[in-house]
């Protein structure tokens, strides 16, 4: 009975936690704002057509801060957390390895290098943010392909943690070097700041207008991953086993790597590198739900990832007063020790698969 009830209870708690986190985090920032007002403004705007706001019940400045600055940022934080987490869960199945995530595998760096290329090397292509996005996607795909095939070649057809990590590290290094080189070659100081921000990771740039593509990508990606949950499960038993159960492994893996790359690129091209989210969240979900079943791990990771990232971002803007900390620093401080802890666990160590 307990086991039977576990899923609905966890789901309810997660959703409640998400709702509370949204309200709580929009009240956090450089200008202090009471929680009750944040709640009132959000509820009024969403369910009451903003009548009370129009009546002047809340100061207009508060409304502006909440609705036009913090809410898009919180929503974007949710998208980043959800998107990076589901990609982490998917990649862990795709490479049959619990230490995979978009950052560790160098895919975020690939997207970042692509975006830097688009920004710093003027190309008369589509121009603007579309071009950035397109190049970020290309960089992400390139990085995932290189990491995957390097890891496979190094492991004699099988992917072992060591070869996977080494190729991820190598691709990370190369992609970061490319990004830095582009910065060095760039003459304009603005571009340099922009690229620097990517390397650190921040969602401060979020506005209503930048939300559209990431929103679509994250929702579609999460739905695709969730619907393929059973196939991810089969893949978790290894390629041969999955094939004997009727899964077309090469096709499935390629498709899902492309979906992951699109999701990661849609986020990273705006935020820069936010590390370890996709590594930490699916593990915590597996711990609290007591299963590795991807039909649950993937959607739950989306919600928990969203909660985690908006709190991390709230910490980024609240910890040091007016000076904002890059979000990537916070996720690294949380995620890297967790990563080391996973590495230290025997069953995920060097010899196992």
């Amino acid at each position: 009975m307990k086991k039977f009830l576990r899923t609905p209870i966890v789901l309810t708690l997660l959703l409640a936690g998400l709702a509370f986190s949204i309200v709580a985090t929009v009240s956090i920032g450089s200008s202090e704002l009471p929680l009750a007002n944040a709640y009132g403004i959000l509820v009024d705007k969403l369910f009451n057509g903003g009548k009370r706001i129009a009546e002047g019940l809340y100061p207009n400045s508060q409304y502006q801060v909440i609705w036009n600055i913090r809410l898009p940022r919180v929503i974007f934080g949710m998208l980043c957390g959800a998107g990076l987490s589901v990609c982490g869960a998917a990649m862990q199945s795709l490479v049959l390895n619990p230490i995979a995530d978009p950052y560790v595998l160098g895919i975020s760096s690939g997207a970042s290098a692509g975006a830097a290329f688009a920004l710093l090397v003027p190309l008369p292509l589509i121009g603007g943010s579309n071009q950035t996005m397109l190049f970020a996607m290309f960089g992400a795909l390139l990085a995932s392909a290189v990491v995957y095939f390097m890891a496979r070649a190094g492991g004699g057809g099988q992917i072992r943690p060591v070869t996977l990590l080494l190729s991820g590290t190598a691709v990370n290094a190369v992609m970061s070097a490319i990004t830095s080189l582009l910065v060095f070659l760039a003459k304009s100081p603005e571009s340099i700041t922009a690229v620097y921000n990517w390397q650190m990771g921040s969602i401060a740039a979020a506005q209503w207008t930048t939300l559209t593509f990431p929103l679509i990508a994250v929702i579609i990606g999460t739905v695709i991953f969730t619907l393929n949950g059973t196939r991810f499960n089969q893949l978790m038993m290894g390629d041969e086993d999955a094939m004997s159960m009727g899964l077309n492994v090469p096709l499935f893996r390629t498709t899902m790597f492309i979906v992951s790359s699109v999701v990661v690129a849609s986020l990273v091209s705006v935020t820069g590198i936010i590390g370890f989210v996709g590594l930490v969240i699916p593990h915590i979900v597996r711990l609290i739900t007591g299963t590795s079943d991807n039909k649950r791990v993937i959607p739950f990771s989306a919600i928990l990832g969203a909660i985690y990232l908006i709190w991390a971002d709230a910490a980024a803007r609240g910890l040091f007063g007016r000076a904002e900390l890059p979000l990537g620093i916070i996720t690294a401080f949380v995620g890297a020790p967790f990563f080391l802890y996973l590495m230290a666990r025997k069953k995920y160590g060097g010899n196992g698969r």
Binding site: M237, G238, E240, S244, L247
Partner: protein, 254 residues
């Protein structure tokens, strides 16, 4: 179901592994594939599921070429128990067994559960159904994958050295179970004695070629064992019984 591999050629990474290999598994019988390490036994099984691609030759299930079948169709007819299945993630025994049914559309929840329960019960694992696969011993794990193959390929199962790493009790339990199941079994075995004792027919492979085939007593002869494995042994009917036996002496020249 009758499984026929005819004149199979296959390469892995540019190296020729199988050359003109033919193996036939008759309906309702236990057929063994025997041979030294690296002779291509496992590779042959893998060609059935497209894990390794064949360069030439045909594979048929009851006369129908698998090249004309969908992957899901093959996997709904034949269950596979691989050699070592990586267990990295935390799944319950029940979840692993259920994976066999993912591809099957239109199964009710009740039907699904009853297939899973029956399969687990038949290998004596029902008590462990909610346990995590990570906490099981090697032998128990192997039984889980056999249960899954039972749930998946109802009448025909292909196994790649299922007795590896198991103690003698588990080895005999698995072989006994398979033998008595009445299913069509195609099994790669390392242990010649198990093969001699349990298989109705064996196919002896050597260096990627078919070497000999037939009833164990006709195939696993002293001469064939010496030629293929390079060891001196004695094969024949045991002095104290009518069972075919194989004995080895220890002077091995590699």
């Amino acid at each position: 179901m009758k499984i026929c591999f005819d004149h199979i050629d296959a390469c892995i990474g540019g190296n020729r592994i199988l050359t003109d290999v033919s193996v036939h598994a008759q309906h309702g019988r236990m057929t063994g594939i025997i041979g030294p390490n690296g002779c291509g036994k496992s590779t042959l099984l893998k060609t059935l599921f497209g894990i390794v691609k064949t360069d030439s030759g045909t594979i048929t299930l009851d006369g129908k070429p698998i090249s004309e079948m969908k992957r899901s169709e093959v996997s709904s007819l034949v269950g596979y128990v691989g050699q070592d299945i990586p267990c990295v993630f935390d799944f319950s025994v029940r979840s692993v067994t259920e994976m066999a049914l993912y591809g099957r559309k239109g199964l009710s929840r009740r039907k699904r559960d009853s297939i899973v329960n029956e399969s687990l019960a038949s290998v004596g694992l029902l008590d462990l159904a909610e346990r995590s696969i990570l906490t099981l011993s090697g032998g128990e794990r192997k039984l889980v994958f056999i249960a899954r193959a039972l749930a998946q390929g109802v009448e025909t199962i292909v196994l790649d050295e299922p007795t590896n790493h198991l103690d003698i009790r588990h080895q005999l339990f698995i072989m006994d179970y398979l033998k008595k199941s009445g299913k069509t079994i195609l099994i790669v075995l390392h242990d010649l004695r198990l093969a001699a004792y349990y298989c109705d027919e064996v196919f002896l492979l050597n260096k990627g070629h078919s070497y000999a085939s037939g009833a164990p007593c006709d195939t696993l002869t002293t001469e064939n064992i010496r030629n293929v494995f390079g060891i001196h042994g004695y094969a024949g009917n045991a002095a104290f019984g009518s069972d075919f036996m194989i004995d080895f002496n220890s002077e091995i020249t590699l």
